[in-house]
């Protein structure tokens, strides 16, 4: 299938600003827009709590816009489509998130995100702003082998960090333990994605990568980065049977473990397909004696309108389960 080049936008240069205007108007009880593309909580969290900032390119909506809110992030710094924001807006974001107990800058591991975060932290240092730290988050097992986890990309599985770290930082915790919690969730999370189709950039109008009808690619990154190469598309159950074992082996998840499951829609897969896929994931996890604490199925971190999905598993203990169940109120992440 060809990618959809026809987009419902106005001027390509205005995409990000118009998107933010429309989003923040819709959810004004949850978020507000400030300065250079900062999305903040409508009501800042109480003083004395660690602030959470996440920057990143756009094109992944509802991530990260939809994750700003109570029990979640304090600030999202928004970049151009698939391109990390520069250090100046990140710095503004850090200032806006500061409630006197330090700020943790969360970085989804991609070169652009990491480098700009480093720059922002260097500027903080030059300015004498203290108590700011960053944590690099990754989960995609296809982007580097086991043993080189820290070279892996950040993809849909960061979902678990956002939710649990957000809940954690509503409590009376310090910056170091916030960072440690983020690392704990990260180190218990593994993801693998696949795609059936490409997408077209609304900025350039160009197809982001080429894919033929009837092909699939396992291990594709959140911007269409290549994974393990192309192969013939398989039925749902066979696809899961191919993707799940390497995820389980990587951590490794073991009999008796308890896990959260995310099936993340890259864009234009149907929920019907995702439910069918989920049925097999549950079946296979049961066989492996990994029990599912809770499942989430939906479009959380998208690659524009690509048709594909990621499986993410997060091994949980009592602490993480409690953080998972804590209330959250972002525009696109609600936990009652």
């Amino acid at each position: 299938m060809s990618a959809r080049k026809q987009k419902l936008i106005n001027e390509p240069d205005d995409i990000v600003d118009e998107m933010l205007a429309g989003f923040c108007a819709a959810y004004r009880d949850i978020v507000r827009l400030e300065g250079e593309r900062l999305v903040l909580r409508a009501e800042p969290k109480a003083p004395g709590k660690v602030g959470l900032v996440m920057g990143g390119g756009s094109g992944h909506e509802p991530a990260m816009l939809g994750w700003v809110g109570e029990g979640l992030l304090d600030v999202n710094v928004v970049g151009e489509v698939f391109s990390a924001p520069g250090p100046a807006p990140i710095l503004q974001g850090i200032r806006a998130a500061d409630r006197g107990a330090g700020v943790l800058l969360c970085v989804s591991h991609h070169e652009g995100d990491r480098l700009n975060a480093e720059l922002a932290l260097e500027f903080c240092e030059m300015e004498g702003t203290e108590n700011v730290d960053m944590v690099i988050l990754y989960d995609d097992i296809s982007s580097a082998p086991k043993g080189s986890e820290s070279e892996r990309r950040g993809t849909a599985g960061l979902f678990f960090v956002w939710k649990m770290l957000g809940a954690y930082c509503e409590g009376e915790v310090d910056l170091a333990s916030a960072k440690a919690l983020a690392e704990k969730v990260r180190d218990n999370t593994r993801s693998l994605a696949m795609s059936l189709s490409s997408c077209a950039s609304p900025a350039s109008g160009e197809v982001m990568f080429e894919m033929a009808e009837g092909e699939m690619e396992i291990g594709m990154g959140l911007h269409g980065e290549v994974g393990r190469g192309r192969q013939k598309a398989l039925p749902a159950d066979e696809t899961i049977d191919l993707m799940l074992p390497p995820i389980l082996d990587d951590l490794p998840f073991q009999a008796g473990d308890e896990a959260l499951v995310l099936l993340n829609n890259s864009g234009s897969l149907t929920l019907m397909e995702l439910f069918i896929l989920h049925r097999r994931v549950e079946e296979k996890l049961r066989e492996a004696d990994v029990s599912v604490y809770k499942s989430w199925i939906g479009a959380y971190a998208t690659t524009l309108e690509a048709a594909g999905f990621a499986i993410s598993l997060c091994r949980v203990d009592d602490q993480l389960k409690a953080l998972w169940d804590a209330p959250a109120n972002g525009a696109y992440m609600k936990q009652l």
Binding site: G57, G86, P87, A88, L115, N116, E206, V226
Partner: protein, 209 residues
């Protein structure tokens, strides 16, 4: 021209911006083969922003001009390349602090600091198929020349050769890294930008006489 006055430096940035603007689509095409196809658009927009920001400075020093360029590139360009290209100007700017006119010696220090910054920031060495493959030989040629005029033309030539050399390489940094062998046969867009920048400076210098 044996030294460069601040107004001339600003003019030089303008010349770079014009060159990148006119090569924008060609750079995008190079990036489409190896990355996401935006390199020309974002780099030329960043330099255009730098020109605007510089125009708003009141009697800027050479250091101000270089720093303003750094910030425009970092923030306007975004992404990995914004950080890396921005770092090039940012590290160089420190070497210009307090300078009235920029001598060849000063420019050597600026370029060397910029190169070191780029390598450190991006963790790239020669042969990784990045802008470093053009920048490193350009800086070397510049420093090895006797005077400013031949330094610029030597640097431009070396940068172009360095850029061309990336064609046969597999990428070890940036988005192209994930392409593996499929990257072979394509010239790195960032290295090409470096060649264009040095060529633009060399042409500007020639025109200035």
């Amino acid at each position: 021209m044996t030294t460069i006055a601040p107004a001339q430096l600003a003019d030089m940035i303008g010349a770079i911006a014009r060159r990148l603007r006119s090569e924008r689509d060609a750079l995008n095409r190079l990036d489409a083969a190896l990355g996401d196809g935006d390199h020309g658009t974002s780099l030329s927009a960043a330099l255009a922003a730098a020109v605007e920001d510089i125009a708003e400075l009141k009697q800027p020093s050479a250091g101000d001009i270089w720093l303003t360029t750094a910030k425009a590139v970092m923030n306007r360009m975004g992404g990995a390349s914004g950080a890396i290209f921005g770092t090039f100007f940012f590290k160089g700017a420190r070497r210009l602090r307090g300078k009235e006119r920029v001598s060849k010696n000063d420019m050597e220090a600026v370029l060397q600091a910029g190169l070191q910054g780029v390598k450190a920031r991006g963790n790239a060495e020669i042969g990784d198929k990045t802008m470093v493959d053009a920048l490193a030989p350009a800086v070397k040629a510049f420093c090895g020349a006797d005077e400013l005029a031949s330094a610029w033309s030597g640097a431009a030539k070396a940068a172009r050769e360095g850029a061309e050399s990336t064609r046969e390489l597999v990428a070890r940094r940036g988005r192209a890294k994930y392409l593996g062998e499929r990257a072979i046969g394509h010239v790195d867009p960032g290295a090409t930008s470096i060649a264009l920048i040095f060529e633009a400076i060399d042409d500007w210098r020639t025109e200035m006489g």
